[in-house]
């Protein structure tokens, strides 16, 4: 899988999360994955058929169905497969034993960016979005990376939650193994919601949310998931190594450095311009990198294009040559406004002026010029 230069996090499907949980000894419901109704197996208990899509609230959105015999299960599978739920296609289903639910709890481990340490959250108010739970009902604990997870952390938390002894020992087992998953799989988040206590008193992970740091994928080559929230063009850009985000305006943007690119979009917006995209050229001294960036932006069909470069490693004359090359090769007739400052800026602006392209040395005049060219009054 091509790695995005942007870095980021990868959401795994529920069934993948549960496969990982199983591997680490976390109890999950008996179940299997299907891609067609004919794959439904004969059954001796009620099942639940769950769409494998990466959105919250699948049940309410109609993505989960119950069945008490094979015909019902096949019918549910037929109904779900191929449909779209909130824009996401259902291609895979997880068929699982239906749990007899007595209680629903919550547990998660995530990165706490402020502490720069793992954060455990646990609650007896599971089955709903954790954001909607009264914070007083959530027990939290920052884990010291020196000690990692140890049972005393679990004892503190189960004590705070007021769990009865037989539940507390099972819950601690969940915590311990979940922390192992969090560490071993380089997770940004592992979440079980709900963590079901069955009517026979057994704890089972009824759902699984596992979010992996994409920067760790060199350690985890087995994960191959395409981010469903990325547009086709964003995926193409990712494959080519660009940080690229589509927006709904009409000013195409190419800049270098994530911070400067964001600042460019902000400045356009403050001038009532509407950016079509975020594209970070990165640090490059290659004409092709510039031409390929133009190719992506042109596919987004903007009205005008702004290039904002502060040269360092990225040389202004290289960028200028890239711009004129792209203009010819891609037959760009749309207005291009350029700001070049820094290493070899004079040479860069000369190259552009010869080709009749507006080139500025400072950012604000370029912003004003491109907004005007886009027809903003």
């Amino acid at each position: 899988m091509p790695q995005s230069r942007a870095g980021g996090f990868l959401n795994l499907y529920e069934y993948m999360g549960k496969q990982i949980f199983s591997k680490f000894g976390i109890p999950v419901p008996e179940g299997y994955v299907i891609h067609g109704p004919e794959e439904v197996r004969s059954m001796d208990k009620d099942v639940v058929v769950k769409s494998q899509i990466l959105i919250g609230g699948r049940g309410k959105a109609g993505g989960i169905k119950f069945a008490s015999n094979i015909d019902e299960a096949r019918a549910a599978a037929s109904t779900l497969l191929g449909t779209k739920i909130r824009g996401y296609s259902v291609n895979t289903l997880l068929v699982e034993e239906k749990l007899s639910i007595a209680k629903e709890y919550y547990v998660s481990i995530s990165l706490n960016r402020t502490e720069r340490k793992p954060l455990v959250m646990a609650s007896v108010a599971g089955g709903v979005e954790i954001e909607s739970v009264d914070p007083k009902k959530i027990a939290t604990r920052i884990i010291d990376p020196l000690t990692g997870y140890s049972d005393y952390v679990g004892r503190e938390l189960t004590g705070q939650l007021g769990l009865v002894p037989e539940e507390a020992s099972q819950f601690r087992n969940f915590l311990k193994r979940l922390y192992e998953v969090f560490e071993a799989e380089d997770c940004e988040l592992v979440e079980i919601n709900p963590l079901v206590v069955t009517s026979s008193g057994k704890m089972v992970a009824a759902d699984a949310k596992v979010v992996i740091d994409t920067d760790s994928l060199f350690k985890h080559t087995e994960y191959n998931v395409t981010d469903p929230e990325k547009t086709t063009l964003e995926l193409e850009a990712q494959g080519k190594g660009y940080s690229f985000v589509e927006m709904d305006g009409d000013i195409g943007v190419i800049a270098n450095g994530a911070g400067l690119t964001m600042a460019t979009l902000d400045a356009l917006t403050l001038h009532r311009g509407k950016p079509r995209n975020f594209l970070d050229l990165g640090g490059t001294d290659s004409v092709d990198t510039v031409v390929n960036a133009f190719e992506l932006v042109m596919k987004a069909n903007p009205k005008v294009i702004l290039v904002n470069i502060f040269g360092g490693v990225t040389k202004c004359d290289t960028v200028a040559t890239g711009i004129t090359t792209a203009k010819t090769r891609l037959s760009i007739g749309k207005p291009i406004v350029v700001r070049l400052s820094g290493v070899r800026e004079v040479e860069g602006r000369e190259i552009l002026q010869k080709d009749g392209i507006q080139a500025f040395s400072q950012m604000m005049p370029a912003i004003e010029a491109v907004v005007k060219a886009a027809g903003v009054n």
């Binding site: 790695q3 230069r5 942007a6 870095g7 980021g8 990165l111 960016r113 402020t114 720069r116 340490k117 793992p118 954001e131 990376p145 020196l146 560490e183 380089d186 940004e188 740091d213 920067d215 760790s216 060199f218 350690k219 929230e229 940080s243 985000v245 927006m247 800049a255 270098n256 450095g257 994530a258 911070g259 400067l260 690119t261 964001m262 600042a263 979009l265 902000d266 400045a267 356009l268 917006t269 403050l270 950016p275 975020f278 970070d280 640090g283 502060f310 040269g311 360092g312 490693v313 400052s341 820094g342 290493v343 400072q362 950012m363 604000m364």
Partner: protein, 284 residues
């Protein structure tokens, strides 16, 4: 004297024969940085632009390195950082982008345990203007002065430093904290250094969306910082849920917005510039 590094700081570069290491060690030497050695496993005994190369960090210790720049590929950063930490190098700067944050958490823990300053990953480094540059900031943008800058981004920092320089002012220290969700040095760490630094009179913070470190910095400023502080926040037009180039630059569940950061700064008496170059106007 710089707040962390100065003209006497002896620097080694881990991964000096790589693409980044080779180019930027040369630029650092041109800046005036005392680059005393480089490491590159298997290339010990050779040299690059007069800089001796060793196989291991341990072999560089007789030269008395005070700081290291780690410029190896992401999968090798953990090992390189542990090597530097084990050798007791007091300042560790990681240039590399795409270091898994679990690795950074572990590296950071080991640094704290040994009292080592960690800068980065995924930032442009640290510059004490006129004395020492460790990292990839362009040499030509600086002028010696009394403004200190701490920033979460690279190019945007250069843009702002350039604006300060063009306005006739100059810089004392410039620190790139890095664009990752987990980094070593934070705004508060930088504020402590700048507040104590006799060469710094004014402070610039360049933040962006994601996390709450700007909000925490604002709280810290209210209580502990007497020097003038101004700020810029990138990403006010960023769509929620989208990662804007930096792994750490994302608005999630309504948290980490530019509005929240600007509000926190304003409440701490820190003026926030609308455009990067306006920082120079706010400083006057």
């Amino acid at each position: 004297m710089g707040a962390i590094v100065n003209k006497d700081t002896k620097v080694i570069v881990q991964g000096i024969t790589g693409h980044q290491g080779k180019f930027h060690s040369g630029e650092m030497v041109k800046f005036g940085t005392r680059v005393v050695a480089g490491t590159s496993p298997g290339k010990g005994g050779t040299e690059l632009n007069g800089i001796p190369i060793f196989n291991t960090v341990k072999e560089t210790l007789p030269l008395g390195p005070d700081a290291t720049m780690i410029a190896v590929a992401a999968p090798f950063v953990m090992d390189a950082a542990l090597e530097a930490i084990d050798a007791g190098i007091p300042t560790v700067y990681i240039l590399t982008e795409h270091v898994p944050f679990h690795d950074t958490m572990e590296i950071l823990y080991h640094c704290k345990r040994k009292g080592i300053t960690l800068i980065g990953p995924n930032g442009p480094g640290i510059t004490a203007v006129g004395e020492c540059k460790i990292g990839i900031m362009p040499n030509h943008i600086f002028r010696k002065g009394d403004v200190a800058v701490a920033s979460r981004s690279g190019t945007l920092t250069y843009e702002i430093v350039d604006a300060i320089t063009r306005s006739g002012m100059g810089e004392s220290n410039v620190i790139g904290l890095g664009g990752d969700p987990v980094v070593g040095m934070t705004f508060i760490d930088a504020l402590k250094l700048f507040e104590a630094d006799p060469n710094t009179k004014k402070i610039v913070l360049v933040g962006e969306i994601g996390g709450i470190n700007e909000e925490l910095a604002a709280e810290y400023i209210k209580e502990h910082v007497k020097k003038k502080v101004v700020a810029y926040i990138a990403g006010r037009s960023a769509p929620p849920g989208k990662r804007m180039g930096h792994a750490g630059a994302i608005v999630e569940g309504g948290r980490g917005t530019a509005e929240s950061k600007i509000k926190a700064f304003n409440e701490a008496g820190v003026k926030v510039a609308d455009y990067p170059a306006d920082i120079a106007i706010l400083l006057e």
